[in-house]
């Protein structure tokens, strides 16, 4: 794979060198240097991204069974995946999860960013750091930590509810795990999105506020008429991030699985299902298929979303 990246620039370069002279050769040399600079990235890109994806695609066209070995089935695995209730339930779960999570996350991060934009004391800087901090904690540790916080024996929830004589909800149970995870993911990402929005707010020209105030606009009107409209590109950006991230949901449930196996089965989300197929059942072919099928779902969802919001989007220019 490495030779294929290395050879085209040399060939192209040398042919240009011999055919034309003078000015062209400078362009050719620049061209060559361009390739040289792109080269290291290109090699890594091919070796670590394109090749594995190609190999996974290749794998997904075969079916291996415990008896009878491996057979070429073309798109048979895909036909199976899109009728496999385990996979479809997982997809439906992440879609439902996105529909609740993303608006919630955006509302929270937007509210905090707007607040921090207005308050200009030392306290604001401190708060900004604190709110951002969960993002700096690795997902795995965050999930483990929340696993303990939800615990009936260790967690503070039991004590807090105990004060009112009530029983704490078990966020690791099958019926509440949705909200348990919702809370963990929001906690982890809201600070990050807040920073993006906050940075975008800093980029707005303050003379706009001044002009608005002279026109008699209230703080609310400034937020609703100036800040939020000007933030829309940033909001769209985090929306797409969140959408892609949530559809690939894996880390948090995988970690919590050890604490709540019954609530998080091996087909909880499509990614967990792919992991289970490949590494527990040794069915690499179907695991690869599910990954690609999930990729297709993500693509379709993001495309629909971008299509629906294309008129708004300074983001897409």
């Amino acid at each position: 794979m490495t030779t294929s990246t290395a050879s085209p620039p040399t060939k192209k370069g040398s042919s240009l060198f011999t055919k034309k002279g003078g000015r062209r050769s400078t362009a050719a040399r620049q061209n060559l240097f361009g390739w040289l600079f792109v080269g290291p990235f290109g090699i890594v890109f091919l070796a670590l991204l394109v090749l594995p994806i190609g190999y996974a695609l290749y794998l997904s066209l075969f079916q291996k069974s415990l008896i009878g070995g491996t057979r070429f089935v073309l798109f048979g695995n895909y036909a199976k995946a899109f009728t496999d209730p385990n996979f479809l339930d997982g997809v439906w779960f992440v879609i439902r999860f996105s529909l609740v999570l993303i608006p919630l996350q955006m509302a929270i991060s937007l509210a905090i960013a707007l607040m921090l934009d207005i308050i200009v004391t030392r306290f604001a800087r401190f708060s900004r750091l604190m709110i951002f901090m969960p993002y700096a904690i690795p997902t795995v540790i965050g999930a483990l930590m929340w696993g303990f916080l939800y615990s009936e024996n260790f967690g503070p929830l039991a004590n807090i509810f105990g004060i009112f004589g009530a029983e704490a909800p078990d966020f690791l149970s099958k019926s509440l795990i949705f909200y348990g995870l919702l809370n963990i993911v929001t906690w982890q990402w809201a600070g990050y999105y807040m920073i993006i929005l906050y940075a975008a707010l800093q980029g707005i020209d303050p003379t706009l506020y001044e002009a608005a105030r002279i026109d008699g606009a209230s703080q609310w009107q400034i937020i609703l008429r100036i800040k939020i409209p000007l933030l829309s590109p940033a909001l769209l950006l985090i929306l797409v991030f969140a959408l892609i991230g949530t559809l690939q949901f894996f880390n948090e449930p995988k970690i919590l699985q050890d604490l709540a196996a019954g609530s998080i089965p091996n087909d909880f989300t499509p990614n967990i299902y792919a992991f289970y197929q490949a590494f527990s059942l040794a069915n690499y072919n179907y695991g690869a298929t599910i990954s690609f099928a999930l990729g297709a779902v993500v693509f379709v969802c993001v495309y629909i979303f971008l299509f629906a919001t294309r008129k708004r989007g300074s983001f897409f220019e």
Binding site: S65, N153, P265
Partner: protein, 452 residues
């Protein structure tokens, strides 16, 4: 024009660098996989002897390997801890699928042997020293490590089950250890009515224990012999299995047992805090509980053990949860030498003694089981109770073995889901058994088996 050779040189360097990175990565993988002897966790005593690589996660692996290396000049063991249970299996599975990187000898629990055997990942030890040690182990012990007519592991330890209970709770409510499951339910009800804790936990994440309960009713969930390749018997919705699942579903519904996952910090905290009157578990449990901090401080001296309750006390059935063996991987360079290690490591007196005295393992070696020192041992965790003689040795001797299949992984995963369904009330025991049967049969057929 002058730049060209320079460029070519840089390009070559870049390519060479990338290639070097590739090969370096490959080597690294091998080391990590344990296929290379240069990366042992232990010291090799005799560097001239051939080396056999070993993955094991017993807490005293290092001492056991040192014992072996000191006593054997002609072969040395290079030990790696590749993680306990699932972690090690995932790595082994990847190495098997990838064709390289597996160790020569691997610690495998009985219920995984058939899974790897079906992929030709393990070597049949029938002709590699099995005859010499055959009499050291019971029939049940050999059955667990055999698939059809082949022997795919050297048995080490087992998990004969008993009922560990809290003497303080039993005293407080004036109860004695129940001997039948009927009594178990009645006693649990009695304690609950008096405002006491639940009696045990029916955990979704312990499908192996639930499978053991099934065997106690006389169920035969699977029939499998790889000699008739492609044929498998699946009887997961038999009357016996429905009986045991309905029984537990009843206990859950009446609130007599908890439904928390086991082996979690949450569960251990509950055990220490007296949330459960009993812990139905195997002979290795005291070692595990102690390691997790049970039996120290407030709950010190409150533990005792009794035989597991029976369905029919006239014809008791002993069951087993857990236990492991050493298997030889099909990637072993020298299967004969590897087999010698598999049979020899953890077979010497010093290692075995240390293993049972510290309750790391419950040995299956008949010599140890019959040894008065072992039988009369006063287990500190049980406040000096002679637990081996009273509970575990009889259970180990009466154990008949189970049938495992290549479907084990899928079966466990599905059983976990069904136990969860029972626990949250969305299925009765019988419904869970029917769903289990349907799912496992479908998977077996998809995997190319003919279901009998």
């Amino acid at each position: 024009m002058k730049t060209k050779p320079v460029l070519a040189a840089i390009m070559t360097l870049a390519v060479a660098g990338a290639l070097a990175a590739c090969t370096a990565g490959g080597d690294g993988g091998d080391n990590g996989g344990g296929g290379d002897a240069s990366n042992c966790s232990n010291e090799i005593k005799n560097p001239d002897a051939p080396v056999v690589t070993l993955w094991a996660w017993y807490p005293n692996s290092e001492a056991v390997v040192d014992n072996f290396n000191e006593e054997n000049d002609d072969v040395q063991v290079c030990w790696t801890n590749a993680g306990a249970g699932g972690d090690a299996y995932d790595k082994f599975q990847t190495a098997i699928s990838g064709g390289s990187g597996a160790p020569d000898v691997m610690m495998v629990e009985a219920d995984r042997i058939a899974v790897f055997q079906a992929q030709d990942a393990l070597v049949d030890l029938s002709d590699l020293g099995y005859e010499d040690v055959k009499d050291n182990f019971s029939e049940g012990a050999w059955k667990d490590v055999s698939v059809g007519g082949g022997v795919y592991g050297a048995p080490i330890d087992g998990g004969p089950m008993g009922m560990i209970y809290r003497t303080d709770i039993f005293e407080q409510y004036g109860i004695t250890p129940p001997t039948t499951w009927e009594e178990f339910e009645a006693t649990a009800q009695q304690v609950k009515d008096a405002g006491g804790p639940v009696f045990a936990s029916f955990a979704a994440n312990q499908p192996a224990a639930v499978t053991a309960y099934m065997y106690q009713t006389g169920a035969e969930p699977f029939e499998y012999d790889p000699a008739n390749e492609g044929e498998i018997g699946i009887n997961l919705n038999s009357d016996e299995i429905k009986r045991v699942l309905d029984y537990w579903a009843g206990l859950v519904e009446k609130g007599l047992v908890g439904t928390e996952d086991q082996f979690t910090p949450e569960y251990i905290a509950g055990v220490i805090g007296g949330d459960y009157a009993t812990y139905l578990s195997a002979a290795w449990a005291p070692g595990y509980l102690q390691g997790a901090g049970v039996g120290e401080g407030a709950d010190e001296g409150v533990w005792a053990t009794a035989p597991l309750p029976q369905w029919d006390p006239a014809s008791p059935v002993a069951i087993n949860w857990g236990g492991s063996a050493f298997s030889v991987s099909s990637q072993a360079d020298d299967p004969e030498l590897a087999a010698k290690v598999a049979f020899g490591v953890y077979a010497d007196q010093a290692s075995l003694d240390q293993g049972w005295q510290e309750q790391i393992i419950f040995p299956l070696n008949v010599d140890v089981l019959e040894d008065p020192a072992f039988q009369d041992y006063e287990v500190p965790f049980f406040s000096g109770q002679q637990a081996n003689k009273e509970v575990y040795v009889p259970a180990a001797n009466a154990y008949k073995g189970m049938v495992y299949t290549p479907l084990q992984q899928f079966y466990y995963s599905t059983l976990t889901e069904q136990i969860q369904n029972i626990n949250d009330g969305s299925a009765t025991g019988s419904e869970a058994a029917d769903a289990l049967q349907e799912a496992v049969v479908a998977y077996a057929e998809e995997q190319g088996f003919t279901v009998k």
